[in-house]
């Protein structure tokens, strides 16, 4: 007999309410007040969210957000900053860690959850696939990102599904590694994400999307979903949590010293120019995100996007960068005429070195 899970749909809510609700449902699941739950959520007004340990001032264009009525808040889960407009659907799994069928190892759990989304998308005629560690893509372009956290004996794993998406607003409200780039490269960045509207040529009605997604989760997790509402206990918990998630103290939370610097470098390889744009935390020696363009030809085309994914949040120490690049090319069949893996290492090293000279010129954006 299949386990019965709750299917909860709370509709459009402000960011603070949705963030508080995540804590509330996770607490309720941990205290065994509710069954395992699949939750659909939407945001209104639109918002920019940072990951639990991130610093708002390093990740978000706050002036732009203020001017355009974009809420800012902090997730309880990990990962990077995201923009959520009314055209995106959030999904969340709340479950006990020892639920039969949910893997104990994180990597295995990421895969299972993402495969549920892939299954749901296939029901809409979309050929999506899981991209390690935490993304779902269509034709090499990201359509859903995921992340999670835990409390006691319960876990939260959640993600977004881009249904119809304003990429220009995302670029304007998040501090992405794009500011010094030309229009051509920014167009290239936009091509790294996609949405249902772009893939299908239309946006299916939201109830149909939710139905397909719910069936995807139910089949992959082998559970039966029963529609339900927030319980009285959850409503009470919500009243207690909401003031905190609306407070500046929560939104400005991080106590981890960190920084974020944008750097761009060009490297001329025999097969063409490699342009590397990095957001880098030199204090913590991390490449936060990488964006690689140029006039070389990579086969398959998606391989550069995969390399960017491999570099995201990786160590910026020279030996580690070399190893990340080496491991990527060793594990993927990538053909780039006139360009060898060491060229990418050299290009990345140049960008990291530019970062160092910026620091000497007082170019840091640090936060604690």
């Amino acid at each position: 007999m299949k386990q019965i899970w709750r299917l909860l749909d709370t509709g459009e809510l402000p960011a603070a309410d949705n963030m508080a609700l995540e804590r509330v449902i996770l607490t309720a699941r941990s205290c065994n007040l509710i069954p395992n739950t699949l939750h659909f959520l939407q945001f209104s007004p639109h918002c920019a969210l940072v990951g639990y340990h991130q610093a708002v001032e390093l990740e978000i264009e706050e002036d732009y957000c203020r001017e355009h009525g974009i809420d800012i808040n902090r997730r309880i889960s990990g990962g990077g900053s995201i923009y959520m407009d009314e055209g995106q659907l959030g999904w969340e799994i709340f479950a006990l860690k020892n639920t039969p069928g949910i893997p104990k190892r994180l990597d295995d759990m990421y895969r299972l959850m993402c495969e549920s989304v892939v299954n749901g998308l296939s029901r809409m005629g979309i050929d999506a696939r899981y991209r390690p560690l935490n993304d779902i893509e269509v034709g090499g372009r990201k359509i859903s990102g995921t992340g999670g956290t835990e409390m006691g004996n319960a876990l939260l794993y959640h993600g977004t599904l881009l249904t119809d998406f304003n990429v220009d607003t995302m670029i304007a409200c998040l501090k992405l590694p794009l500011k010094k780039l030309e229009d051509k490269q920014i167009r290239s960045f936009k091509e790294r994400v996609t949405c249902l509207k772009e893939v299908l040529g239309y946006v299916p009605p939201l109830p149909d999307i939710k139905k397909a997604m719910a069936r995807g989760f139910a089949e992959v997790l082998n559970v039966e979903l029963m529609p339900g509402a927030l319980t009285g206990e959850e409503e009470t918990l919500m009243a207690g949590e909401l003031p905190k998630f609306r407070s500046a103290e929560w939104i400005r939370l991080p106590r981890v010293l960190q920084e974020s610097n944008l750097t761009v470098a060009d490297y001329k390889a025999p097969g063409g120019l490699i342009r590397v744009s990095l957001l880098i935390d030199h204090l913590r020696q991390r490449i936060k995100s990488a964006f690689i363009t140029g006039d070389f030809f990579a086969y398959p085309e998606r391989s550069i996007l995969d390399l960017e994914a491999a570099l995201k949040n990786s160590s910026s120490r020279p030996d580690d960068v070399r190893e990340t690049v080496r491991r990527f090319f060793a594990g993927n069949d990538v053909q780039i005429p006139g360009v060898v893996p060491d060229d990418f290492y050299q290009a990345l090293s140049l960008a990291i070195a530019v970062q160092s000279s910026n620091e000497n010129n007082g170019g840091n954006n640090a936060s604690r």
């Binding site: 340990h53 889960s77 990990g78 104990k104 994180l106 935490n134 992340g147 020696q285």
Partner: protein
């Protein structure tokens, strides 16, 4: 993890362990860290944070957070006591926990409140068995992180 069943985990002698993959070196004070298996399971650690020194914790209380692969996990106190020092170098450079979990990557020092709680901890052989139980999937109550 591929090849995990055949992997030899570094588990030094002279330590005690809890089921959340913390190691404890117990003298007058107690040093706490994450084991080699624990750091491997979590993966590349991106952020690390602790409650402030001076915080009183009970066994099982959250005394910090650890992030990898977009996952935020809890650091749980293996015994009750007072956190007397946290490893600021590991907080600034969490990679140390991955590369040197029993050395520079230690997490915090604490003053135990109740020495009897040490009986809840595992010795080296019991901890090895606990790792194997989880790798083989036999550990029903094994938890994520």
């Amino acid at each position: 993890m591929q090849g995990e069943k055949n992997k030899e985990w570094n588990i030094p002698r002279g330590l005690l362990f809890d089921s959340s993959d913390c190691w404890l070196k117990i003298t007058e004070e107690t040093v706490v860290g994450l084991t080699d298996y624990g750091q491997s399971n979590i993966g590349d650690i991106i952020y690390l944070d602790f409650v402030p020194a001076g915080t009183v914790v009970r066994r099982g209380d959250r005394c910090g957070s650890i992030e990898s692969g977009k996952w935020v996990g809890s650091l749980l106190a293996p015994i009750s006591g007072i956190i007397v020092e946290t490893n600021s170098e590991a907080k600034a450079d969490p990679h140390k926990v991955n590369t040197d979990p029993f050395g520079d990557g230690w997490l915090y020092r604490m003053e135990p409140a109740d020495r009897k709680e040490i009986t809840h901890l595992m010795n080296l052989d019991a901890y090895k068995a606990w790792i194997q139980e989880r790798i083989s999937g036999k550990a029903k109550d094994a938890e994520i992180l």
